[in-house]
């Protein structure tokens, strides 16, 4: 794997000629000697169309940069797409499910994947990856895209972070992880939570939100941690009124809005969780929470509480 960085991503691509006359700023209010407009000719930051337009042009550029896929001396050459999918008798879990293959060598074809202005070139060996990177970078320059060569990362099986994750392909396996800094920070946050638990079992809301935010980011790399954030979610949402002691949402509770003049006797007899439309028909100033399972019992509770009630 190797990294290629595109310099000044948006400015590499020209605006459409039909848009140019309408895209600019009037400098007259700021400089009295100027009476003309300054026009943009290239995609710029904060233009609504810039992300879509630039990525589109970049993808078209990548297509040309990869070169003719069926020319044998092209490092991105492939003549076969291998489907190694579950259910087939020959399924091999150590191989990718879908891959472009060069049948002459049996290895995966060279390729380049892009994330906005960061490109990662892939090859089956150091030399192959170098070839893919060289071709990609030279064609980018040919097409007028800036190659920020100072940010180039040489081919390696232990390449650095890309799109927030570190991927290593050495020792015969693929390993995806976060950077050591982020891992240490995540461990630090968990230690803080543990301290709070052992001390007085109370948390500051803002701090817990910050921890959740960071751990959610880590989960992008480690999806199996998703379930383990549930406790933080529940703790943060426990203040809401339809939650129980542990923060779990109370089942079969529905918010019904009723007319201010609505008396218990006027309640529709069929009010229940399964027919919310009945309740939605009567809009309202009083918020009543009804237990869906027993409309008759709710009537009496509404009578006793009179106005805004909270029934569990």
């Amino acid at each position: 794997m190797s990294d290629i960085d595109v310099g000044e991503q948006f400015y590499n691509f020209l605006l459409h000629s039909a848009v140019k006359p309408h895209c600019g700023i009037d400098l007259a209010p700021y400089f009295s000697e100027l009476t003309t407009w300054e026009r943009w000719t290239r995609c710029v930051m904060s233009l609504k169309s810039s992300p879509h337009g630039c990525i589109r042009m970049e993808m078209l550029g990548d297509e040309i940069s990869k070169g003719c896929y069926h020319t044998p001396d092209n490092p991105s050459y492939f003549d076969q797409v291998r489907l190694n999918v579950p259910g087939s008798p020959t399924y091999n879990p150590s191989l990718p499910w879908v891959s472009k293959v060069d049948s002459r060598t049996g290895r995966s074809a060279g390729d380049v994947v892009s994330y906005v202005d960061d490109k990662r070139s892939l090859g089956s060996s150091h030399a192959h990856c170098t070839q893919v990177t060289r071709q990609m970078a030279s064609m980018m320059i040919y097409l007028g895209e800036q190659d920020a060569s100072r940010k180039r990362v040489a081919p390696s099986e232990r390449a650095g972070a890309w799109t927030g994750a570190v991927c290593h392909t050495d020792e015969g396996k693929v390993t995806v992880m976060v950077t050591q800094d982020k891992w240490d920070k995540a461990k630090g946050y968990i230690a803080i939570l543990e301290n709070h638990l052992n001390r007085d079992n109370t948390f500051k809301h803002k701090e817990l939100e910050r921890i959740r935010c960071f751990l959610t980011y880590v989960i992008h790399t480690y999806p199996c941690f998703t379930s383990y954030l549930k406790g933080i979610h529940l703790t943060l949402d426990r203040w809401r009124k339809n939650r129980d002691h542990d923060g779990w949402r109370i089942a079969n509770m529905v918010h019904y809005h009723l007319d201010a003049e609505c008396t218990p006797n006027a309640l529709p007899s069929s009010v229940c969780a399964r027919c919310p439309a009945t309740a939605i028909r009567s809009l309202c100033s009083i918020t009543v929470v009804l237990h869906a399972a027993s409309p008759m019992a709710n009537r009496s509770l509404i009578t006793s509480y009179g106005g805004s009630v909270w029934v569990r």
């Binding site: 879509h52 297509e63 040309i64 999918v85 579950p86 499910w97």
Partner: protein, 353 residues
């Protein structure tokens, strides 16, 4: 490297599961105890899934334990190996809950956590896959509750034959192509092979070289061509990614994406988000197209060209929404209703005819 396939089913009175191991087929069945007989069906289904996996690791069925031990030895020796397990269930909540990794139901969440712990403890990669109940019946796991051990795989039928994850819709029933051509009369429908996903699916129809000798792809600008993507369910996510790249690069192209409703957690959300028009063809509605033996519905999604003005896409336009409603009500009112005229109307809404 070990891959296991298993079916798990639960109902009012009891539970059952079957496993395909490298050596043999194992099955497990029994009644629920008093503690679970009144629990919700979603809970029982997921509980059975957990138990089926768990029991494989414990004493009841030593196959998986042996596999895990073998893998542990291999991991120690080779520093890298894993076990992959495909569990099929006819409960969509179980699939959804496992895939999301969370649930608002306390008991379901506890079961999900148990599955996750199993994954981490045994270096297991688990896939929970929803299938139709009728497939479960045909496969034989459903019949186990009645003590019937002479159905489906237990009768000797091929286990993998009930796991069509590797076959696309067109591969399973080629008659679909003719059906699609019926409602795309003024278009030329091109079915794409996996190799075409990376080339033809992107609109590249030939090669040319500029004066510098640089390869420039020849692109299809024809508005009467439709690319038909028919990937296997397990490869649908990759095919869809290529389709999205293609649509971003060349928004004038028209695509139809058909895929059986299996392994849907990997692609359905994205597919329904990006497609302009989608509908489900239930099995048996058109016996020559998607017969009852297909078990799961066929998801058909249509990607129309972008508009040259806001809102840039036809999706969500009143006419298209009305068409969706008409299609649904047609099949609701009359099972044999002819959908072809309605689908033909789609092209006039998109101003392509």
């Amino acid at each position: 490297m070990v891959v296991l396939y298993g079916f798990a089913d639960a109902s009012g009175p009891g539970f059952r599961s079957t496993f395909l191991s490298p050596a043999e087929i194992q099955y497990r069945l029994g009644p629920w105890g008093r503690d679970l007989s009144h629990a919700s069906s979603n809970y029982r289904e997921l509980c059975n899934l957990v138990n089926a996996v768990d029991y494989e690791h414990l004493d009841q069925f030593p196959v998986l334990s042996q596999a895990v031990q073998a893998i542990s030895a291999e991991v120690i020796a080779n520093q890298g190996s894993s076990l992959e397990l495909f569990m099929f269930t006819d409960n969509s909540v179980a699939e959804g809950a496992f895939f999301r990794g969370t649930s608002s139901n306390t008991k379901l969440f506890a079961l999900i956590l148990q599955l996750r712990q199993l994954e981490l403890q045994y270096s297991l990669r688990l896939h929970a896959i929803h299938i139709a109940s009728k497939r479960m019946i045909a496969q034989g796991t459903d019949g186990l509750s009645r003590g019937d051990t002479f159905e489906g795989v237990l009768r000797g039928h091929n286990f993998l034959g009930f796991v069509p994850l590797q076959r696309g819709a067109l591969d399973r029933y080629p008659g679909i192509l003719h059906w699609i051509q019926c409602w795309t009369p003024s278009f030329h429908v091109i079915p794409l092979t996996p190799a075409d996903w990376f080339v033809k699916g992107h609109g590249i129809v030939g090669d040319s070289f500029n004066t510098d000798g640089v390869w420039i792809p020849q692109v299809s600008y024809s508005s009467s061509v439709i690319f038909l993507w028919s990937p296997p369910p397990t490869a649908a996510a990759d095919a869809l990614e290529q389709l999205c790249f293609s649509r971003h690069k060349r928004p004038h192209l028209i695509h139809i994406f058909i895929v059986p409703c299996l392994f849907t957690h990997s692609f359905r959300k994205r597919l329904l988000k990006f497609a302009d028009f989608s509908f489900y063809l239930t099995p048996g509605r058109r016996d020559t197209v998607w017969p009852t033996s297909a078990f799961e519905p066929l998801l058909v999604s249509i990607f129309l060209p972008f508009l040259s003005h806001a809102p840039w896409t036809v999706k969500g336009s009143p006419d298209l929404l009305a068409l969706e409603r008409d299609l649904r009500s047609l099949w609701l009112m009359d099972e044999d209703g002819d959908e072809i005229p309605l689908l033909c109307h789609l092209w006039s809404i998109a101003q392509l005819t």
